[in-house]
Structures are given as structure tokens and as C-alpha cells.
């Protein structure tokens, strides 16, 4: 008798399970999580805090906020940030002042931990929401964040 009850219970549980999948088969349009990525490229918006890559925003006068204090370079766990700096004469005070020559960012080594951005005292570097980082050449992953000819904004002190 247990032979037949086993068959009955087996078929019953299988049908119950198929009921769940059948429900989603019929209501296939409900609760869709999947995003059809390349097609929704224009409307896809990442969250504001999304860690895409480190960028240095510049304003319309080609000025950034980086004083070259190198705190991000020290905070970085894997050497993704390299700052080449120099000393220039400050026009107002006439004293020597640190200024960046190149803020080099190795995207290929970055683990997106966010410690550099936490460490920055002047909010010179921020996260961008770009997520498709694939390039054809490995060298393209090394980026110079400050634009050519850019200078530090006046009044920024660390």
C-alpha cells in the first residue's frame, strides 16, 4: 500500500512544484528583475553612491581642488594612485607651495574600496558612475586625472 501512496505523494509534490513554475509562466510579465542591458543603455542610471571609477571633477575655468597632499596615495591599499608633484610659487603669499603635476590613477589595480575618497580633505576626487571599463589596450587603464593645463582652485587648503 505504501508503494502506491509513495507514487501518489511523489506525483503530488511534483505537480505542486510545477504549479509554482506554472504561475510564473502565466504571469511572465510580472516581477521582471532582468534588465536588457545594451538596449536600456540610454535610460540606465546607476545609484549616486555607485563606485565606478575615481575621477577628478574640473570646473569651467579648468580648475580642480587637488592640493597634492598625497593623502589618497597613502590611503590606497594597492598603489593605484601615484602623484607626481612639484613646488610652485604662490602668487599671493610669495611662498613655495606644493602643486600636482600628474595625478595618475591605475584603474586596472583599483579594488574600488573607497579609502582614497574618504581620505581626501578637499573632495578633489569623487566616484563616477561609469561601469563599463573594458578597453582594447591595457595602457588605457592608466589615467591621468587632472586635465592638461589645469590649476588648483584658489583658496583650497588642506
Amino acid at each position: 500500500m505504501s508503494y502506491f501512496s509513495d507514487i501518489y505523494n511523489g506525483v503530488k509534490t511534483l505537480l505542486q512544484g510545477m504549479g509554482v513554475t506554472g504561475k510564473y509562466f502565466i504571469h511572465a510579465r510580472k516581477e521582471i528583475i532582468t534588465q536588457e542591458y545594451p538596449d536600456n543603455k540610454d535610460t540606465l542610471k546607476m545609484f549616486d553612491r555607485f563606485r565606478g571609477e575615481v575621477v577628478m571633477p574640473h570646473d569651467e575655468l579648468n580648475e580642480h581642488r587637488c592640493t597634492g597632499c598625497q593623502k589618497c596615495e597613502i590611503a590606497c591599499p594597492n598603489g593605484s594612485i601615484e602623484i607626481i608633484w612639484d613646488r610652485g610659487i604662490d602668487e599671493e603669499t610669495g611662498k613655495k607651495k606644493k602643486k600636482i603635476d600628474k595625478h595618475i590613477y591605475h584603474l586596472g589595480m583599483c579594488t574600488m574600496c573607497g579609502l582614497c575618497i574618504e581620505a581626501c580633505p578637499t573632495d578633489a576626487i569623487v566616484w563616477s558612475q561609469k561601469f563599463n571599463h573594458a578597453t582594447l589596450e591595457r595602457s588605457e587603464l592608466t589615467k591621468i586625472l587632472n586635465k592638461p593645463g589645469s590649476v588648483v582652485k584658489k583658496g583650497i587648503e588642506d
Partner: protein, 372 residues
């Protein structure tokens, strides 16, 4: 000639590699199987394919930098791994965290636990032959990942805990999002039972398979759902409470059967418990600071420190020997996956190859956690 029939059809023991590229090992784990026909005589795990020397790298890093490496050990419970290092540093410096930090950390940890168990549930179903569960598990996990992405900025390697609190405060819509997820998820979890737990094929493949007695569970040092499936009460949240677990009441899920189905049921029940814990906390997140100011260079006092937390897989221990400098002299991670894997031989010897996949699946192995 004395060539009898039984001589002619006798079988011989032979070796076979399962992995390192086998899909059912969920990573680069190599199992050297000694097999007689279909019966498994011995299983020897061979590790080291994804060894990144995280312990050695930590000796070079400051205490803030170590946290982000722990994301990469057990990536499915990244949040608890971070918490372990942060708690160790905070306890060593005798810092008292604000209630807000504790509660948010606990909510995040429980969300991570649900996400981890959901992934495990999907993959467990797929290992025993049910492809649908994989889709359903990932569908619901996606909602948690979205919450993490909005709050922490990353979906998997969050690095949200820092020594001294949290990296950012939660967003105003965080509570509503978590509540929405919980109401959604509470309707889905019973479906999982209908779909997989009660399924007759699944029951036959898991009941009585991979038995681990409570004595063995203790002597192999298993923890987490593997230990609790054998009746070993080993929940760190209960026995050595940390963060907000000190104040809240929750049940420790224990099954005494010790087989694959018991470990499965422990995880399913733990998801219900996690829901209850989050519901308990989500409405009364206390106001206050989300981080306490620390020195830019954290130096631990001279001595030895140990902190353990309950990750989705079991007990993660962090042991630090400090000489008073800004780097640890030696750091050791006691990962749950490594100890759980050591019990595999005991569970499976005498079983069939097909059972091995089901048993490794309920161990819920994350290979980067085993190798580090």
C-alpha cells in the same frame, strides 16, 4: 585457469579528479577521489588554486586597509568579514560604538546572510538537478544587491564597515526599501518549500545522505549551519554576542538529524530568523553618529587580540598579534569553510559520486574563503 566469473567482473580502486574546474565545486577546488566503481573510498581536498596570501598582505597594510581585503575572502558574507576586523580594532582600542552603528551593522549583516543563503539555495537546487531554483534564488537576491548598491556603493565587495563605524550614513529611503523587500520575500520563501524542499526527488537525494554525527561535527571544528545541522549549538551570535545581537531575541536554529536535508533546513529556517531580526530592528534605528572619529594612523596596543563573528558559513575568527605599530605583526583568519571542508571525508566515505555533489553543496563552500 581459475578465472571465475567474480574474478572477471571484479572492480579496482582508481583515482579521479573532481575539479579544479568542475562546476559543482563552485570554484577552483580539487577533490581527489578514490573510487571503487561508484562507491567513494576516500576524498582528499587539494587546495591552493586561489591562494592570494591575504594574511601576508595584511601584515603590510594598515588596519583600515585590511578591511577591504576581507571582502575578498568570503565574498558572499563580505559584510560580516569586514565587521570582524572592525570589531577587533574597536575592542582593542576600547572604543564604544554608537547604538546606530551597531544596529545598522546588524541589519546589513542579516541582509547579507539572506543574500548568501539565497545564492546557496539556488545553487544547491541546481547541483541536484533543478535549474529553476537558480533563477528564483538570484531573482530575490537581486533586490538585496540593489539595496547594498544604493547604500554602500557596491554589490558584492562592500567595504562599508570601517574601524570606528560606517563609511557613510544610510539613505532616507533605506528603511522603506528593506521593508518592501521583506514583504516581497516573505511571500516567496514558502514557494521555495513547495518548489524544492517538498519535492520527492530532492527528498530522496538528500535524506540520510552525508551523515555527520554531533561528536564528529565538534571534533572537526565545523561551525555555522553545518555544525547546527548535526545538533551542535555553535551560533556565535548567541554564545558570544556582538553588535546589536546583545539586545535582541532570536532563535538559534538547530536540527539533530545531521544529514544533508537537516543542513538544508537549518539554512531555510535561518532566513526566517534573519527576517525576524531585521523586522525587529528596522523600525527603531536610533539616531546618532554613524562613525566615531579615529586617528588617521591606527596603532593597536601591544598584545594579542581575537574576535569572532558568525558569517553565513559559520564562525570567522580573526587573530592579530600586534607589536604596537600601525601594521599587525601577524594576522590569522580562522575561516569557517576550511574547517567545514575537513569534515567532508567523514560525511561521504561509502556514499556514491552523485551524493558527493549534494554534500559539497550543503557545506556551502566558498573557495576563496578556504584558500585566502
Amino acid at each position: 585457469m581459475t578465472n571465475t566469473i567474480s574474478d572477471r567482473f571484479k572492480t579496482e580502486e582508481y583515482f579521479i579528479n573532481m575539479g579544479p574546474q568542475h562546476p559543482a565545486t563552485h570554484g577552483v577546488l580539487r577533490l581527489i577521489l578514490t573510487i571503487d566503481g561508484e562507491i567513494i573510498k576516500n576524498v582528499e581536498p587539494d587546495l591552493g588554486y586561489i591562494h592570494r596570501s591575504i594574511e601576508k598582505m595584511s601584515e603590510r597594510d594598515s588596519y583600515q586597509q585590511i578591511v577591504h581585503l576581507t571582502d575578498r575572502m568570503d565574498y558572499l558574507s563580505a559584510h560580516m568579514n569586514n565587521e570582524a576586523v572592525c570589531l577587533l580594532v574597536e575592542n582593542a582600542l576600547e572604543m564604544e560604538m554608537p547604538e546606530r552603528v551597531k544596529v545598522i551593522r546588524t541589519i546589513m549583516a542579516e541582509l547579507t546572510r539572506i543574500a548568501s543563503h539565497l545564492l546557496w539555495w539556488g545553487v544547491m537546487g541546481m547541483d541536484v538537478g533543478a535549474l529553476t531554483t537558480f533563477m528564483y534564488g538570484f531573482r530575490d537576491r537581486e533586490l538585496i544587491n540593489d539595496i547594498f548598491e544604493e547604500t554602500c556603493g557596491a554589490r558584492l565587495t562592500m567595504n562599508y564597515n570601517i574601524p570606528g563605524g560606517l563609511m557613510f550614513d544610510i539613505l532616507p529611503n533605506f528603511q522603506q526599501r528593506v521593508k518592501d523587500f521583506l514583504t516581497h520575500f516573505k511571500t516567496k520563501l514558502p514557494e521555495y518549500d513547495t518548489l524544492l524542499t517538498n519535492n520527492v526527488i530532492f527528498q530522496k537525494r538528500t535524506k540520510g545522505v552525508g551523515y555527520l554525527s554531533m561528536e564528529d561535527a565538534i571534533s572537526f571544528g565545523t561551525s555555522g549551519p553545518v555544525g547546527r545541522g548535526s545538533g551542535y549549538s555553535c551560533d556565535v551570535r548567541k554564545h558570544h554576542p556582538y553588535s546589536a545581537y546583545t539586545n535582541i531575541d532570536f532563535k538559534e536554529v538547530i536540527r539533530t538529524e545531521g544529514d544533508t536535508l537537516a543542513r538544508y533546513e537549518v539554512r531555510i529556517q535561518e532566513m526566517w530568523e534573519s527576517i525576524a531580526i531585521i523586522e525587529n530592528l528596522i523600525d527603531n534605528i536610533p539616531e546618532g553618529d554613524f562613525k566615531v572619529a579615529t586617528k588617521a594612523v591606527i596603532k593597536l596596543p601591544k598584545g594579542e587580540f581575537y574576535q569572532k563573528v558568525e558569517t553565513a558559513r559559520g564562525e570567522l575568527g580573526v587573530f592579530v598579534v600586534s607589536t604596537g605599530t600601525k601594521n599587525p605583526y601577524r594576522i590569522k583568519f580562522r575561516s569557517p569553510g576550511f574547517s567545514n571542508l575537513s569534515a567532508l571525508n567523514k560525511m561521504i566515505v561509502g556514499g556514491k559520486i552523485g551524493d558527493l555533489v549534494a554534500v559539497t553543496s550543503t557545506l556551502d563552500l566558498v573557495i576563496p574563503d578556504i584558500d585566502r
